[in-house]
Subunit: 305 residues, 2 copies
């Protein structure tokens, strides 16, 4: 049997090249929806928009980790949905370490100095000996913990119960949240969006951080109580924050985060889906698919992950 | 015998506290030069200025790696000079990784986006799979190589003959310089200032780098042919440069480096002498000193290191 693949992505050309190079058996790549297409590789929102014109769809490979658009109970669910996993840890670590180093090594201040032709040879800080607290230690958190250890940090981890990463020096669970946060130099949220993680970074938590603390959110926007964070930043209760995710994305133009002092924002770009990474997942899953074996990274439509 | 120590540093109070905490035997810390002072801990230029008023000086511990002011043949040399070593590798790695991550993860562009309220969710790059070339692989270079490997880079090393770091994938020597540089994503100079390293980063070397290459100099300013680098940047022959050291420091106000596009400068701050690091070296050396044993990190006045 010949399988027919539709690629629905801004980077469709790159994905087509990578899939073609793999010379997968019995696979034809189509350029537009047809009633025979049984496989889709792409961005969840584009897949959702195409569902009605793909009656034969039996497997969708999302190129992102998040598949919220496809979880809508009103949408079709009679196909296998797989997402991207296992490739984001190192990218998240790069992002987090990049911003921690920018903070400690005064990278932005040095640029201002340069603009002002000011030779400022005052000492900068270092990551070594600092304490980082990870809200969530799954596969991504474990990679961040490893990077933090590499740079000589003390690592605390907050999880519901698991203690799987050996790079975490001390674990905290459940009601230990404030104890976990007390005295942290850096607080990093990597938790997924669930009812238990909503506004976990709230006024109470921010209050136990020291004034030099930096908060980074690469998990989900819902984890942050936005008004509490704004207050903490505006009153210098913490030194700064770096946010990659927000309650509403794109962030509305009139949102105060754009102009809050000591707040850096990025645009849900901390862990990009790189085509070479995601194509590998698709290729591996395609081989399982044609052999009738279970696919990797299947999403449970009810649980949402 | 009681030893008398003078601390000559901008951070003298910090050093005094750290040395006092060590409760070293037979040591008195003086606040100003006296004829009895036999030990000095401080910055080389301040030590040089005080030499005439320290007739009993028998050991100077520099808090910096570079001791050029004290090498002046016209200056006294009848004392043991030790410098700071072994503590700068990880700090240099932090600096280099910080700027590499800022480059790949578009940290400066994201800040501009934020100022312009522009939600730019285009993908960023990654360190993984990139090739870094280290000019000089001593103890500092070895640490940078280890950090580069940690982030999944390919590592080339250029040395006169040594091949001591296992984190270097391929070594180049002597006349292999252009082959070493060919196709590098990142070129990092860590070489000390010797006659063989003067202007090693010249037009010929810059010409073999690809247009997306980033050049970082944390070694000595003399390693860079400044006009060749200016030309390479102004003509977009390379993507950018980060310089921490210069032929003349502080960099003169009218130097074009302050305003050259795609050039970031810092102020000889890539590896700060952190008092907690340097005090440890002093304390260890003091214990050797009072036992009459050879001190660590002695500088040969003739060789200059």
């Amino acid at each position: 049997m010949t399988h027919k693949l539709l690629i629905l992505s801004e980077l469709a050309d790159q994905y087509r090249t990578l899939v073609e190079e793999a010379q997968l058996p019995d696979l034809v790549i189509e350029s537009a929806p047809t009633p025979e297409i049984d496989i889709v590789l792409g961005e969840p929102s584009r897949i959702k928009a195409a569902l009605a014109s793909l009656p034969a769809l039996s497997w969708s490979q999302s190129i992102w980790a998040g598949v919220e658009p496809l979880l809508d109970p009103a949408s079709r669910r009679n196909y296998i949905l797989t997402n991207a996993r296992g490739v984001f840890g190192r990218l998240m670590s790069e992002y987090i370490l990049g911003y921690l180093l920018a903070h400690e090594r005064k990278i932005f201040q040095r640029l201002e100095d340069q603009k002002n032709k000011r030779w400022d040879d005052s000492d900068t800080g270092t990551l070594r000996g600092k304490t980082i607290g990870l809200l969530g230690v799954g596969s991504i958190g474990a990679d961040v913990a490893r990077a933090a250890k590499f740079f000589g940090m003390n690592v605390r981890g907050y999880t519901w119960s698991s203690e799987t990463s050996a790079d975490v020096d001390k674990y905290f669970h459940g009601s230990d949240l404030l104890e976990f946060a007390h005295g942290l130099d850096y607080l990093v949220n990597i938790l997924p969006n669930t009812k238990d993680t909503r506004k976990i970074i709230n006024a109470e938590l921010l209050n136990v951080l020291p004034p030099h603390a930096l908060v980074i959110n690469v998990g989900r926007g819902s984890a942050v109580d936005e008004s509490a964070l704004l207050e903490a930043l505006n009153q210098n209760k913490i030194a700064g924050a770096v946010l990659d995710v927000f309650e509403k994305e794109p962030l509305p133009k009139d949102h105060p985060f754009w102009t809050t002092p000591n707040l850096l924002i990025t645009f849900h770009t901390s862990a990009p889906s790189l085509p070479e990474d995601i194509a590998k997942i698709f290729i591996e899953n395609y081989k399982l698919f044609i052999e009738g074996k279970p696919l990797k990274y299947q999403v449970d439509f009810e649980k949402g992950y």
